[in-house]
């Protein structure tokens, strides 16, 4: 028994040692390419780009749809002749819902596959994990999800909303249209809700809105009995909801179960899109508000085309949502930048970025060359009986991105 055991250990450690040498060699090789010129190959009639989404793990539910809309954009671009005459060749990697895997796969895409740009990421932790990889290798990442702002990397383009394009317009809506005087904050316990609520509290203090409570539940928590009791007892004019994922289902079921309604105490959510509505249950959500920059119901030729194409590719029941649209748009924006630069080289693309526009399904968007975000129109929506979201209020024109909230004098970081 003993000898068997130790021989096993020996075998395992030799395998481990082999693996280490292999990675060490790999590291040395890739190290060379990182210090040298970019290894992107543009000599042929194709150019490689990378899609990095979680196709497994807890985030797969959301990121798979982003992958689908990215793929659709790539197919459309290829059918239309490609970028600078070159067809796009997709290298897809699975981020597995793990920030460390995102960093690892990003390195692989940049150094081994030599892709011209990478599209993907969802959670802020995955973006934060990838940021040093893209900056260290001077590569390009297009990140398609609304996030907590306060970031602006030379190597990342943010095509989702920053806080002044989603959270602040949502507060403007509640103040101007709903005339609220008090608010209750409910969120999952991680970076986005905590940062969002920090902004909300400062906005509230500057605008005479009373914050009656602030409750956090661990990510994935489904026990909202106590939280909803507190919300009900506080009796605020509205609830601002930054819960993420499955927690929304439990929260809204409890909310309805305790007799709270959209008309008496509306909930405004920033993480519930068309995709999530069926999971929470239309009956539990009807009449509640959401804040995004895109809804499937937007009445424009560009959006009709987008929705029709997506349903044709993914079935009639498929819905389109904000992050999917932002991902789809990101690929077209990259195409616009490359064509303006007449080059696939990262620095040329970044230099050309400022002012690139695209008639996206959400409306016309424009890249800000300084902070790498895009100007977007804020839309407040209301969930209807079919589970889609109707626009009930809009900022009318695209809002310039301001990730550090420099133009708001009440903001003190």
């Amino acid at each position: 028994m003993r000898t068997k055991f130790s021989s096993r250990i020996l075998a395992a450690s030799s395998v481990l040692a082999l693996g280490l040498t292999a990675t060490a060699c790999g590291g040395a090789k890739t190290g060379d390419s990182a210090t040298g010129e970019s290894c992107v190959d543009t000599s042929g009639d194709t150019v490689k780009i990378g899609f990095l989404n979680s196709l497994s793990g807890t985030m797969a539910i959301s990121e798979t749809t982003v992958f689908k809309s990215l793929s659709m954009a790539a197919e459309e671009i290829n059918a239309d002749g490609g970028v600078l005459g070159k067809k796009l060749e997709i290298v897809s990697e699975d981020g597995q819902s793990e920030p460390t895997v995102f960093a690892e796969k990003a390195t692989k895409l940049i150094q081994d596959d030599c892709v011209a740009a990478v599209f993907g990421g969802w959670t802020s932790s995955s973006r934060k994990a990838m940021l040093p990889v893209f900056e260290g290798n001077d590569a390009l990442l297009f990140y398609p999800v609304q996030y907590e702002g306060l970031e602006s990397s030379h190597n990342i383009f943010y095509t989702g909303a920053t806080t002044n394009q989603q959270i602040i317009p949502a507060l403007d809506f509640l103040k101007q249209e709903k005339k609220i005087e008090s608010i209750f904050l409910v969120g999952s316990d991680y970076v986005f809700p905590r940062t969002a609520n920090k902004i909300i509290k400062q906005y509230a203090a500057a605008n005479g809105i009373e914050v009656l409570g602030e409750e956090y539940q661990p990510l994935g928590s489904t026990d909202f009995g106590t939280v909803v009791d507190k919300v009900k007892a506080a009796g605020a004019d509205a609830v601002f909801n930054t819960l993420n994922g499955d927690s929304n289902v439990a929260f809204f079921k409890e909310y309805k179960g305790k007799g709270l309604t959209a008309s008496a105490m509306p909930v405004l959510s920033v993480s519930i899109a068309e995709e999530e509505v069926p999971g929470v249950g239309v009956g539990n959500l009807e009449g509640q508000y959401t804040a995004w920059n895109y809804y499937q119901t937007i009445d424009s030729p560009a959006n009709k085309e987008f929705v029709t194409a997506f349903k044709a590719a993914n079935g009639a029941k498929a819905v389109t949502s904000d992050p999917m649209e932002a991902a789809y748009t990101s690929l077209y924006l990259w195409k616009g930048m490359v064509e303006k630069a007449d080059s696939f080289a990262v620095e040329d693309v970044i230099d050309a970025a400022d002012g690139v526009t695209y008639d996206a399904p959400e409306g016309t968007v424009e890249v800000d060359g300084e902070n790498h975000h895009i100007a977007k129109t804020a839309l407040i929506g209301q969930v209807n009986s079919e589970g889609l979201i109707d626009t009930v209020w809009s900022s009318d024109k695209p809002i310039e991105p301001d990730p550090y909230l420099k133009s708001y004098d009440w903001w003190k970081n």
Binding site: E215, Q217, G220, T222, D223, G225, V227, V249, K253, G257
Partner: protein, 294 residues
């Protein structure tokens, strides 16, 4: 008074959820010593059973009542399959069962993702569980009351089976001393299978009940499995009464701390309390007196 009543109710209902998810585990882990990490996926299978039944049965009023026994059977059959194909070879190696069943759990999650898709599904609640009834000025949601009643019924049924039926006596005898039970003619193989069927079936029932509170997705089980083991360990391995006390105790503690502080802090405090408690009483609230020689 209002707030106190509300917290007692919230705590009891959270305890009832814990009890439902841990009840099956007290049988399979507690009585048989199998560390079944796939227990969470049996819960998930129960939830998906409720979803499928709601698609097949047109009446939402009835579908929940049909889903409960269906969930029991589906969970039980999954358990039987796992027992017959894998676990029967590993009764003497509890750590191996942990790894194997963890793998089985991952496979089941992926199967659910492939069959039903990654996005969560909604199982419509029957109309008669809509809303709440006010008692002493506090609105009791009917879904939560239903879960408390269901947990109570499951415990009563399990106790009755263990105490009054031949199968129950065989299960208790096998737990007490496997070798001696065999010498008096009990087929411990058959008893093991039956125990595993009931334990896994209870996971299925818990899954059906959970559709009333949360979402039905492939990851449903993973969010409950740790809590389920926690309850069983705190209650005292293999002790049904201990499990009941532990589930209600943890539920109430969680509710009171969450009310006084915040949800996240409450979870930390409860975990710390459990660690401290297990330092003092590593065998849990109650412990089994076995007559086995080991």
């Amino acid at each position: 008074m209002d707030a106190l009543l509300a917290q007692v109710f919230t705590g009891v209902s959270a305890g009832a959820v814990l009890l439902l998810i841990a009840l099956g585990l007290t049988l399979t882990f507690g009585q048989m010593g199998v560390i079944n990490m796939a227990h969470g996926e049996f819960i998930m299978a129960g939830a998906y059973t409720a979803y499928v039944v709601s698609l097949v049965v047109a009446s939402t009023e009835l579908s929940l009542l049909i889903a409960l026994p269906a969930g029991f059977v589906i969970g039980g059959l999954l358990g039987l399959a796992l027992e017959a194909s894998v676990l029967r070879w590993m009764y003497a190696r509890p750590l191996d069962t942990l790894l194997v069943t963890y793998g089985v759990g991952l496979v089941l999650q992926q199967v659910a993702r492939d069959v039903f898709g990654a996005p969560a599904k909604e199982v419509p609640a029957p109309g008669w569980l809509d809303g709440s009834i006010p008692i002493l000025g506090y609105d009791f949601p009917l879904t939560r009351l239903f879960i408390i009643v269901l947990a109570g019924l499951c415990v009563a049924a399990l106790l009755a089976v263990l105490r009054f039926t031949a199968l129950g006596r065989q299960i208790r005898a096998t737990v007490g001393n496997r070798d001696l039970a065999e010498t008096i003619g009990i087929s411990t193989r058959r008893t093991d299978r039956a125990t595993f069927f009931i334990g896994s079936g209870l996971a299925g029932v818990a899954g059906v009940a959970l559709t009333l509170l949360g979402s039905t997705g492939p990851n449903l089980g993973t969010s409950y499995i740790v809590q389920a083991f926690l309850v069983v360990v705190v209650g005292g391995i293999g002790h049904l009464k201990g499990t009941i006390v532990a589930a209600l105790g943890i539920g109430l503690l969680q509710a009171f701390f969450a009310h006084a502080l915040t949800g996240s802090v409450a979870q930390v405090i409860v975990f710390l309390a459990i660690v401290a408690f297990l330092q003092v009483r590593p065998q849990g609230i109650l412990s089994v007196r076995t007559r086995s020689l080991a």
